[in-house]
C-alpha cells in the first residue's frame, strides 16, 4: 500500500478504494503465498491455514475455499485449516456444507472446518447483514450445515432465514460424523458455551499477541471447568505472530520493518466499522472483555515500535532459543493444544518467510511437541484422513500404467 496510505484513506477495510488494487501484483502474491503454505507442509507443519475477509487491503481472500482447494491438490499430509467460512453470509448456508465436503473429499479427509460469526467489517458493513440478527442467523446456519452433514436422507428445513424443501448435499465429507470444527471467537460467554455445547475447538484469533490473550483464555478455561468438561488443551487454539532468525539481533534486522509495516500501516481500520450497534450482545458489552478487538485499540497498535511489539508479546521473535522459550511460555500459560503460526507478515519478502518457516520447523517445533503428555493422543480436535487417499496426479499415473500394461503401445501424448 502507498506510503501515505494512512493519511489519504480512512480505512484499510470496507471502503478502501479498489483503485489501489493491482491485479498483476495479486497474481504474484496469491501464488507466492500458496507456495509458502505448501512449503510449510514440506518442512513439517501439521496444518496450513486460510481465512475469510472481504474488502480488505491486507487480507485478499474473500473465498478461502478457492485457496484451500489449490492447497489440497498440492499437499498430501497437512491439515487444510479453513478458519473459516462466515456461515451467516452464505445463501443458503448449505453452500458451505457442500464446499467443505468437497474440500474434505479432495484432500482425503484433511479439512479443519472453521465457522466464524465474522467481524463486523466483513459481516455487517461489507455483506450487509443486520447486526442484531447476525448471531441468530449464524446459529441457524450452523444447525443447517451440521444436519446437512449428518442426516443421510433428504430433509426439509423450515428456518427463519432459510427455507429449503430438499436439503440433500452431494458430496458428503470423508470425516465422520464431520470434520473437526473450530470456532474463531472473541471473549463472549455465549461463544464459549457454544463451543462447549458441541465440543468444538475455541480459537482466539487476533493480532494482540499472547500476553494480552491470556485474559481471554483464562476466562475460557474457567468456563470449561464450570461446565465440567475435561481440560484438554486441544480444546483451544491461538494465533501468534512469529519470526525466527539465527539470533535475536538478526530477527530484528530481518523482520522488524515488515511486521511494523503490518501493524503501522495495514491495521488502519476506521473505528466506526468496529462495533455497529447490535453486533455485540448486551452481556458481552457489560463484561467489557472485548476491548482489544475494537478499532480504537487497533489504532493504538499502529503506533507501536519493535520493542513494544516484542515486549508486549504481540510478536514472538528472535533466535531459535528465544522463540522456543516464549512459545513454551505461551503454550503453558494459555493452555494451548494448537497454535496458528503467523509467519508471513506485511510486506515480508518470500525468502525471509521461508527462512523463518524453516528455522521454526527445524529448531523450535520439535521441542513444542508432547508438551501435554497427559493428553497424548487426544485427537478429538484433529483431522482423521482417509488412509487410502490419493493425491494430485496419482489417478493419472494409474491410468497410464493401466494403459501401458495390456497393449504396450506408446503413451507419448500423455508423456508430454
Amino acid at each position: 500500500m502507498p506510503d501515505d496510505f494512512r493519511d489519504t484513506e480512512r480505512s484499510v477495510w470496507v471502503d478502501i478504494p479498489s483503485r489501489l488494487f493491482d491485479p498483476k501484483v495479486a497474481n504474484h502474491v496469491y501464488n507466492e503465498y500458496m507456495d509458502q503454505l505448501e512449503y510449510a507442509e514440506s518442512v513439517g507443519f501439521d496444518g496450513i491455514g486460510v481465512n475469510e475477509h472481504h474488502q480488505n487491503g491486507y487480507g485478499i481472500m474473500p473465498s478461502p475455499n478457492i485457496i484451500a482447494a489449490g492447497l489440497a491438490r498440492r499437499t498430501s499430509r497437512a491439515a487444510i485449516c479453513v478458519i473459516g467460512n462466515s456461515i451467516a453470509l452464505y445463501n443458503p448456508p448449505v453452500r458451505v456444507a457442500e464446499e467443505f465436503a468437497m474440500l474434505d473429499c479432495i484432500s482425503g479427509g484433511r479439512l479443519v472446518a472453521g465457522f466464524p460469526v465474522g467481524t463486523p467489517m466483513d459481516t455487517n458493513f461489507c455483506y450487509g447483514q443486520i447486526p442484531a440478527l447476525t448471531r441468530d442467523k449464524y446459529r441457524e446456519a450452523h444447525d443447517l450445515i451440521m444436519r446437512a452433514w449428518s442426516d443421510p436422507e433428504p430433509f426439509a428445513f423450515n428456518g427463519k432465514y432459510n427455507q429449503l424443501r430438499y436439503v440433500n448435499i452431494w458430496p458428503r465429507p470423508i470425516q465422520q460424523p464431520h470434520p473437526p470444527v473450530y470456532i474463531p471467537g472473541g471473549g463472549s460467554i455465549e461463544t464459549w458455551d457454544f463451543c462447549l455445547d458441541y465440543d468444538y475447538n475455541y480459537s482466539y484469533l487476533s493480532f494482540g499477541g499472547y500476553l494480552a490473550g491470556k485474559k481471554l483464555l483464562d476466562g475460557y478455561w474457567e468456563r470449561v471447568a464450570e461446565r465440567d468438561k475435561d481440560d484438554s488443551p486441544y480444546r483451544a487454539a491461538f494465533a501468534q505472530i512469529i519470526a525466527v532468525a539465527d539470533t535475536d539481533a538478526e530477527a530484528e534486522k530481518l523482520y522488524a520493518e515488515h511486521i511494523l509495516y503490518f501493524f503501522n500501516r495495514c491495521l488502519h481500520v476506521y473505528p466506526g466499522f468496529s462495533d455497529p450497534a447490535g453486533y455485540r450482545t448486551i452481556s458481552t458489552i457489560k463484561a467489557g472483555v472485548l476491548d482489544q478487538f475494537r478499532a480504537e485499540m487497533r489504532e493504538k497498535w499502529t503506533r507501536l515500535t519493535w520493542k513494544d511489539l516484542v515486549d508486549g508479546g504481540f510478536v514472538i521473535a528472535g533466535g531459535p532459543d528465544t522463540v522456543r522459550d516464549r512459545m513454551e511460555d505461551m503454550i503453558r500459560s494459555l493452555r494451548l493444544g494448537h497454535v496458528f503460526c503467523l509467519i508471513h507478515n506485511g510486506n515480508q519478502p518470500d525468502w525471509k518467510t521461508r527462512h523463518s518457516t524453516q528455522l521454526f520447523a527445524e529448531k523450535v517445533m520439535p521441542s513444542l511437541r508432547n508438551m501435554w503428555p497427559e493428553y497424548e493422543g487426544d485427537d478429538r480436535w484433529w483431522i482423521h484422513p482417509y488412509e487410502e487417499r490419493v493425491h494430485a496426479d496419482e489417478t493419472f499415473k494409474d491410468a497410464r500404467r493401466q494403459a501401458e500394461v495390456p497393449s504396450g503401445t506408446s503413451t507419448g501424448s500423455m508423456d508430454r
Partner: protein, 274 residues
Amino acid sequence: MTDLQSPPLERIMVTTRRGITCEVLVGAPPSGQAEGSIVSFHGAAGPLGGEPMLAALASHFAVYAPIWPGYSELGGEEQLEDMQDFTLHGADIVAALDLHKPHLIGHSMGGMVAAEMAAAAPGLFGRLVLIAPLGLWLDDHPIADIYSLLPFEFPPLLFHDTAAGTALMAGGLDFNDTEAIKTFLIANSRRLGTAGKVLFPIPDRRLAKRLYRVTNPTLLVWGDDDKYLPAAYADAWKAAIDGAQLEVIADAGHMAPYERPSEVAVAIEHFLVV
C-alpha cells in the same frame, strides 16, 4: 395555540396482545376537551427528553407517544425482527390504547413505521403527519450510514445547530465517567441495534411500492437544513402520497421536533384542526 409551558407528559404502561409491555408518554389538555387523539412514534435516536413538541400538542390533543421496544429496560425488542413486526407493533399499541382512528405522527424511523401502518390499514387511522420520515432511498442522494458514525459525528449531521444538538444528544452524560459511558454504550447498542432491523444497511424495506395505499390526508414536515435526509426526499414523499402537503421549517435540521418544537407543533395543529 401551542404553549411550550405545557405540563410535562406522564408515563403509563400498556401491554399489547403480542405481550410486549411498553411505556407510553401521555398528555392531554387540562380542560379535558381534546380535539382528537394523536399517536406519535419517535425516531431511531429515541426520545431525547422533555419532548417539547408533544407537550405543545398536548394542549389541544390527547397525545400518546409509545417508547419503542429496545428503547427502555422493558425488553420485547427480541420479538421485533422485521418491518412487518414493527408495523404490527405500532397497530397493537393503538389497539391496546383503545383509540378510535387516532392521527398518526412519526419522526424519522417513526415516520417509516407510521407510513407502513397507514399503508397497511388506512381506514384505522385519521390524518398522517410524517416528520422527515425514513423509508425511501434515492440512488442520487445516498443516506449517511449512521451505523458507522462515531458519536461526535451525529450532531452536525442531525442538527442545524451542532452545539445545541450535542448538548441534547449527550443528555448530561459525563464522558469521563467509565460507568456512565458503559451505561450509555449499552443503551445505544440496544436502541440502534433494534432500529437496525429496519434501517440496516439501507433504510428501505420497499415501502415505496405500498405507499399508493395511503389515502389518509398527509402532512410532510421537513427542516430546511436536514443534512441527513435532504430536500430531495421531501419531494419524493410528496410525489408518492396523493395530495400530501409539505411544510418546511426554517433553521431546522433532521431533528426539527427538538430544534423548532413550537413551529413544528403549530404546523401540525393547523393541519389536524379542520
